[in-house]
Every structure is written in C-alpha cells, then in structure tokens.
Symmetry: C2
Subunit: 381 residues, 2 copies
C-alpha cells in the first residue's frame, strides 16, 4: 500500500472515524484506525463495536486530484498516534507507505514517521446493512429529533432498553420516545418517503449523541437503512453504523395523562431562566427540588430552599392560567432539559394534580405528540 493524499482531507476523515473509537475497548485492534486503499479511493474505519464509522475519500473530486495511489492495500494504525501525527504534519500532502511487517511510513516535507501497524485482515468486519428499506430525512430535522429526546434516556443500566431512544416508524410518521421512568420526551414528525413496513427499534442514546456531533446543521438529506439489528446512517462520504438495543420498549402512550385539571401558558425562555436561577441553590439538595406555585395575579412563583446556603424565589409572568391552583415540586434539571427542547417558544403546561405527571407542549400544537415533555413531580408539599 502506497499513496499520497491531501493532509486536510485526511485529517477530516481521521477526526470523523475517531469519534467511534474508545480507548477502553476490550478488543485491542479497535484502538486503531483501519485504512484501505483501492481504485476508488481511501476508506478509513473506526469502531467500538457498538458504533462504527466509515469515511471515504475519493481519488478525484471536482476535477481536483485528492489521492494519488501507487499501490493498493490496507493497514491498521493506532488512532491516538496516527491522528496526532497527521494533524501536525508540515506540508499540504502526506505520503503513506506500508513496508514490511506492517511497518508504515508517514512522511510530509522533511518529517518522517514510522508506526508499527497491524494486519487489516484481523479487523472486525462491519455489519452488513444492505437489504433494508431506505428512509430519507433532512439532516437538520434528524438533529432536532435527537436533541429533543436523547437527554431523557436512562443513565443507568438497570433496564438496558431505557438507555436507548425508541423509534417507531409507521403510517409515514417517525415518533421518537425516551424515558428514564422519571421523565419522558416524545417527538413526532411526518416522513417524506412512503414506507409500507412498520419498524419499532431502540437506538442507544450514546450512538445518537455521537451522530449528532458528527452532523452539520444542513438541510440536505441523510439516508437511514435498517437491517440485522443495525441501523446505518448514510451521508455522501460517510457511513455511521449503530447496533440496536434488544428487548421490547415499554408502551409509553398510557403514561401520558389525558385529564387536565389546570393549564399554564408561559414563554419557555423566560421560564427556563427563572428555573436556572432557582437551581443555583437547589443543586445542593438531592433531587434538585424546585417548587412552583400559582399566584392570584396570573404569575407563578418559582422557589427553592437549601437550609445550609439560603433560598431563592422569583415571580414569573404567565400568559394565562386556567383551572385549579397549583403547588407542585419537581427536579430542576429535568425541567431545564425539557424547556430547552422548545427553543424559546411559548408553551402550554398541563397539570392533572400535585402528584400526577405534568406535560409540556408547544402552545396551540396541532398534533399533541409533535413535541411532548413529561415530568413526574417530587413529593414535598
């Protein structure tokens, strides 16, 4: 294997595939980046066996030569050294050559490195995801769905399936749900592609978070394919594979209360700022408890008390409040996570009693499941 490549393109691809690589893997070869050169271009692969990322660099793009290949082949190089090396190379081009015994020369200008490589045949095969139906979705829509749900997955592994986000695709709709059993986040969007099949899958929250870091906020589409207990997200020169979680996700629809006793309409940004301030003292106590109480003049009082440190209270103007008076306590962090999903828009909070979960939705939402955030109160009052 011997080729010359534009350093900046190589650095970009290395940065992309490195996102999948974990230093704590139990499979030593997975601490490396696999590099394969053929007559189409250079392919880099990184994987922690849950997530695999493949970045492709074509020989020629827009009539510009990016890679000049002298001989085909492959190698696996330690990602922590290879990445640091290519980022610091002095010239615009890099020559990479595998000599004997997987020894690899990396040279640029006057600088010349030799790294001990590994046999690329030893590198695990990527999952085959070819036979599934392909669904297209704009990247910025996908990023939003992930951002508005993934924070609510469970951080603990007691029920592994809850560490993922449940995606249900049916009737040309995608609905994504995450819950850690104290709060729930739900987002539903119409799909542009016609899908006959129904899918019900659970994608690890960590995979979705990594995917979101990798994607620019673009309006072009990404392709998703499902097969063999894997999901593949496909961009122009990038493949992102994630394993799916096994086990059936609980039916969350019956957790959402339908009997509203009071309703508060408020601006999510102003409310978020007040909750953020109240959380400054609330973080000292175990559940980050914040109290909410409706006042007579259409305001709500947000307060918190930490005996050691002090207390805080703030009145926030609501746009309207109807129904029974409310006095309720909740985890401030959950509320902030939920409010951020609404990006500053006006929201409607539906309460069905002091000890029943309450639900946040956009004000005047046409579809009640477009964005839904549910929070279970904390017992204090």
């Amino acid at each position: 294997m011997k080729f010359v490549i534009e350093r900046d393109r190589l650095v970009q691809a290395v940065n992309e595939v490195t996102r999948a690589i974990s230093a704590r893997t139990t499979i030593p070869i997975l601490t490396g980046i696999k590099i394969v050169v053929n007559d189409e271009g250079v392919t880099l692969t990184g994987s922690d066996s849950d997530i695999s990322i493949e970045a492709f660099i074509p020989l020629i793009e827009n009539d510009e030569v990016i890679v000049e290949v002298e001989s085909f082949g492959g190698i696996v190089l330690q990602s922590k050294y290879f990445g640091d090396i290519v980022r610091r190379l002095p010239e615009e081009n890099v020559e990479i050559e595998v000599t004997s015994n997987y020894q690899t020369n990396i040279s640029s200008g006057q600088a010349s490195f030799t790294l001990n490589g590994l046999d690329p045949m030893e590198y695990p095969k990527l999952p085959e995801v070819t036979d599934g139906k392909t669904i297209k979705i704009p990247i910025n829509v996908l990023k939003n769905i992930v951002r508005q749900t993934v924070f609510a997955v469970s951080a603990i592994e007691v029920r592994p399936v809850l560490t993922g986000v449940n995606w249900i695709i049916k009737e040309n709709k995608l609905s994504a749900v995450a819950t850690d059993s104290h709060r729930l986040a739900l987002r539903e969007i119409p799909l542009e592609t016609d899908i006959d099949e129904e899918y019900n899958i659970v994608i690890p929250g960590k995979s979705l978070s990594e995917l979101n870091k990798l994607l620019d906020d673009a309006s072009e589409s990404i392709e998703m394919t499902l097969a063999n207990n894997q999901i593949l997200f496909k961009l122009k020169d990038l493949l992102f594979y994630s394993r799916l979680l096994e086990g059936s996700y609980p039916d969350t629809s019956r957790l959402i209360p339908t009997d509203t006793k009071s309703e508060l309409v408020i601006n999510s940004k102003a409310f978020l700022q007040a909750i953020d301030r109240a959380s400054l003292l609330a973080r000292e106590n175990r559940n980050n408890v914040i109290k909410l109480m409706t006042l007579e003049n259409g305001q709500v009082e947000v307060s918190s008390n930490s005996p050691e440190v002090g207390n805080v209270s703030e009145n926030v103007f609501s746009q309207s409040f109807t129904g029974e008076e409310i006095k309720i306590s909740f985890n401030g962090k959950y509320m902030m996570d939920a409010l951020r999903a609404f990006e500053g828009d006006d929201i409607q909070i539906s309460f069905s009693g002091t000890m029943r979960p309450f639900v946040l939705r956009p004000k005047d939402a046409a579809n009640p499941n477009e964005i839904l955030q549910l929070i279970t109160p904390v017992r204090t009052y």
Copy 2:
C-alpha cells in the same frame, strides 16, 4: 449594609477576586468573598492566604453612577453561590442588603435570593504593604517576564524555594530566574524607576501565573511594592498580594556554561514545530527523550524512538552551525517550553559538550542575560 450596583461591574469584580479563592482551604471563611461598602465605593476581597485579591468599584465613574449606597457595612458570602447568582441575574442592577444575622438579600428584577453570610470581622486582615519602595513596570513587559520564566519552576515541593521565581532588583535592572534543577529560565530587563535599594525575593510560581491570567496585555504601568515578606501589585482598581517564599535562592549564575564548543543558529518557530512532532512518540518514554544530531549539510536531525509505537525523524535547516559535531539528547517538553519563550525569533544555541547543559539565547543578543534558557541533557548517546 444596603446598596444598588451595576450587575456587570459586580460580575467583573467577582470574577477577579474569585481567582484567589480555593475550595480546598483549611480556613472556612476564605471560601467566601468579603464585601465592604463605605463612602468611597464597594470593595471585594478574595484570598487563599497565599494570594489575596482586592477589587474596588467606585460610587461614580466618568460621571456615571455605578453604586448607590443606602447604608455602609460589610458581609462575607460563599463565593461559589454568590458568583453564580450575580452572573445569572435578570436585570442591569442588583440590590444587596444585609438584614439580621448576616442574612443577605440579593435581588434583581423579579428574582430574589437570600444567602446565609458570615461576619466580615472574622475575615483575615490583608497584609500591610505600605512602607516599601514602589517600582513601576509596563503590564505587557511584566506579563512577558512571567511567561518566559514561570514554566521552569519546580513542580515538586522537595526544595520549596525552587517552586518560586527569583527576582533580583539592583542597578536599575530586574532579573527573573526560575529553575527546577534540570532546566533554567532567565530574563533581564532595565527598569524605568530609579531604585537605590537592592531586592532579592522569591515569588511563588502559582502567584505569578494567577497574576498573568488577571492582567490584560496593556502598555500602561503596574506598581509593585515590597514589604513584610509580601509583594503587592497595584492596578487602578485592583490590588494583588502574594506572600514571598522564605529561604535563600541558589546562586544560578555559575550554572551557566561559558566555554562554548559549538553553536547552532536556527529559527525558533521551525525548530519548535519539529520538536513538537518528534514529541508525539517521545511522550511514551519516561523522559520524553528527543535526540539532536548535526548533519554535514548544515541541517540538524531531530529524532525519537519508542520501540512499542514507532519512530520519527526530521531534518531541520539551520542558519549556521560552527564548532564540534553535536549528538545530544534532551527532554522534548523542556525544549518546547524554552523555545516558546522566543516567540518565533531566530535563536542561537550554545553547546559545551554532550553531557554539559546547553543554552538558548536570541540571535545577536546585546545582553547575554536578556533571555536565556538552559537545558540539561539526558544521558542516552
């Protein structure tokens, strides 16, 4: 105590004094910020007993009212809460009022906090530094002196005096020296103030690093005053006190070799980049060992070898090389620290043999002590 103050000015002063505050102090009241209000303005103090910072906010500045005082007094408030609170307050102004039992109300717009405070009379007195001679120095010059020497202080406390930088002021010159006994950094500048007295002090490296973070790169002057085993740096509205280290600093002048056997002139930036690349593999071995070897064509070879990972070598063009051939090994981190002190300028490296310390200076330096970096080689060749 009751006053209203511009939030942004308060936030700035809180950020400044917080630099001195350590969460790990053994004196509980020092985790707080002392606030004192009198007829001149508001004074905030933070301290870890080694470093103390005092920030002053005048009542009126440039005909603009910054503080409106209703009653004088003082309080000590937990810095970690007080800082977060004032940074997040909703309006431009903040009202602070001490009620009974050191309870303090902090309110802005609709938000109202109550913090449990402490008696300001319990807060340790700041050192008195009034009787010493005052020396003026431009802030950017001071920042450079610190930056070019402080990295070379010892990180271990075996010889406490070596964790500081030795400042010697005599004959209208300031010379700053730091050494951890493996390398040495020296910087000498002429002083504008006429100083009759001689001073020989050791300032903790940590104090100088914190001072540098606090100072903008301005050309105006800062005043330094020495007294009672303390140094005081005085800006317009800011006082920075540091305790001095006790014990006599070793005489480092005789460590600097005077018998040069070979001399290399090279650009510090190009050399730094090559050393940085070679260090990528060198960091695996214990002393970060990099080898330097002169070649016949006026180039020098920088190389490193880490049996597990691989090796690296790079030829760097020098501007000139005279004297005996050189083959020498050194700690790559020490070399990078030293090279950064020259800010990309051309330098001259004087060698007096493979096992003797070598010295870096600016090319054609008029004063041999203007900037001097000394490194002791590592035994490998």
